[in-house]
Every structure is written in C-alpha cells, then in structure tokens.
C-alpha cells in the first residue's frame, strides 16, 4: 500500500516533464514559423558589422583613369550603395536612393558592380545620378572583400570607417526610417 503514492508521484513527474518537452518543441516550431515569415529571411547577416570597412581602391566610373580610395571618406559616415545596370531590383530602388540622397543626411557613394562602364553611364543618364562618387568594380574582385553577393546591397559606414549596418535587396522608405536612420543615430551617438 505504501508504494501507491510514490508511483503516482513518478508518473506525475514524467507527465510534467514530457508536457514541458512538448511545449518547448512547439515553441521552437512557432519561432521558426514566425522567422520564416520575415521577408529578409534569406538575407545573410554581414560578417563585417562592427568591423572596419575593407581597404578598397577602385577606378571612378566617370573618370576610369583615376582611382578612388574609400578610406578617404573617413571623418563622416557614408552609405555605400551597390548597384549595376544589369540589376532589375536596382531600377526599382533607384528613386528611393535618389530621394534619400536629396535629404542630405548622408553621403551616398555608388558601387557599380560587374558592369560595363558604358552601360552604367547610360543607365545613370536615363534615370539620374544621385551619387556623391561612384566607384566601378568591373571584375567584382573587390566586392568579395565586402562580402557582397549581388545587387542591390547597401552598407552604412560610420565616421571611423566601421561598418554599422547592411541591407540586402532594394531599399525602401520603411527600411530607411526603421533601420538605416536609427543605425545612423546610434553610430553618431557612439562617436
């Protein structure tokens, strides 16, 4: 007779533990389903966030016989916008970048990726040139150092030359208001 309460105790423990395990599994599933809902779920986090921007010296798009060293941009934050005339999403993003550049909140530097300079210039002639400076990476060699894997991609680099934020895919106003400007404010506060 003395064994009955103990046995009941064991089965209660087992019940509680297995219920907790099940709940944990459900919670994990729920988190996974929620995360898969995010539109940027396939965007990789940049390995460069919090690290110095890679040393980059590239020819200027407008004057290919001259090179430009991105390190000379230090002292003030800048936005590095990767695009190419071959990239349809860049065409969609272009008005957003242009409007943002007009606000004067940040210098917007263009990074023309794997593009024929003639095509890039024609593209800018057609849609407008919002950029402060445009470097041209025809081979795409330097882009590997930035961890760039396509276009459009956009980096925020602070006054010390540290990469603060990255966005993969076209920029829109929600991302600018919700992510870029807060990241810029953080960077300026930390200075």
């Amino acid at each position: 007779m003395s064994t009955t309460p103990e046995r009941r105790g064991v089965s209660r423990t087992v019940l509680v533990v297995s219920t907790l395990c099940l709940l944990a599994v459900f919670a994990l599933l729920l988190v996974a389903v929620k995360r898969s809902d995010r539109p940027d779920r396939q965007a990789l986090p940049s390995a460069l966030i919090g690290k110095p921007a890679p040393a980059t010296v590239l020819p200027l798009l407008h004057t290919p016989d001259k090179t430009f060293d991105l390190a000379t941009l230090r002292g003030k934050p800048y936005l590095l916008n990767v695009w190419g005339s071959w990239c349809p999403e860049c065409r969609i993003e272009h008005p957003v970048v242009s409007a943002f550049a007009k606000t004067g909140k940040l210098r917007v530097i263009g990074y023309d990726l794997k593009d024929e300079p003639a095509d890039a210039l024609r593209w800018l002639g057609q849609f407008g040139d919002p950029y402060d400076t445009i470097v041209s990476d025809v081979e795409g060699k330097a882009s590997l150092n930035w961890g760039i894997y396509g276009a459009p991609e956009t980096f925020l680099v602070d006054a010390q030359g540290i990469v603060r934020w990255k966005h993969v895919g076209p920029l829109d106003n929600t991302i600018i208001e919700g992510e870029l400007l807060p990241a810029l404010a953080d960077a300026e506060r930390a200075q």
Partner: protein
Amino acid sequence: MLCACLILLSTHAFAQVSDPTPLNFRDAAEETRFNALTHELRCVMCQNQSLADSNAQIAHDLRREILQLMQSGKSDEQIKTYLVARYGEFVLYRPQVERSTWLLWFGPVLLLLGGALAVWRVVRRRSARAVSSVDDGQEW
C-alpha cells in the same frame, strides 16, 4: 532547392551568366582537393546548395577565388577563414566549434545523457521499490 533559388532571384538580382572560361587545374590532385573543399562550402546565394553545385554568379566568382587561393599556397583552413571573415559562418556546412555553436555540436549528446539519466533514475526507483516491497513481505 530550385524554388529557393528562384525566390531569391526575384528579390535580389545578380548577373546570371554562364562561366566563360573554365577553371584550369594544374593536376588531378588539385582538382580532387578543390572538389572536396567546394563541397564543404555553402553557396551564399542559393542557400541550400554547395559552392561546387551552384550556378549562381557569386558561386562562379568564389570558386575562381578559391582556386587562386589554393594555387597561391593557402591551406584549406586558411581558405575557410578567408571566406568566413567575409561571408560569415554561414558558408561552412560544418560549423566551427565555438560558444555560439556549442548547442549544435553538443546538444544531441546532452539529450542522450539526459535520457540515459532519466532511464537510470526510473530503473533505480523501481528496483528500490521492488526491494522494499520484498521487505514488507506484501503480496501483489
């Protein structure tokens, strides 16, 4: 897999051109090593394909870069470190053992140990009960 690539293509474009110049291996051993290495690395664009299998432009570029690094005398480890510094841990199919991946590496072992402990406790409790019931001399 194809689906994932297509979805990705629609949101994040890249030049989809086939490789104009094939990779030049110096010998069969180099090709074998290259194939082993690129099968262990994940394409950053098509997330569930290895670098060896992917036809994305970035995979072509990275394969070329890896062969160059190999031919300049870099070890597999150095090449992996090079890629992780740029594209993050994500490029490795076998993540490195470090604090953030402890759960991944040791989680299954912990689960197994936990299960073994639970079984052991139940067995011990049962045998203790069996002994005490023998002591009581009670009939079941």
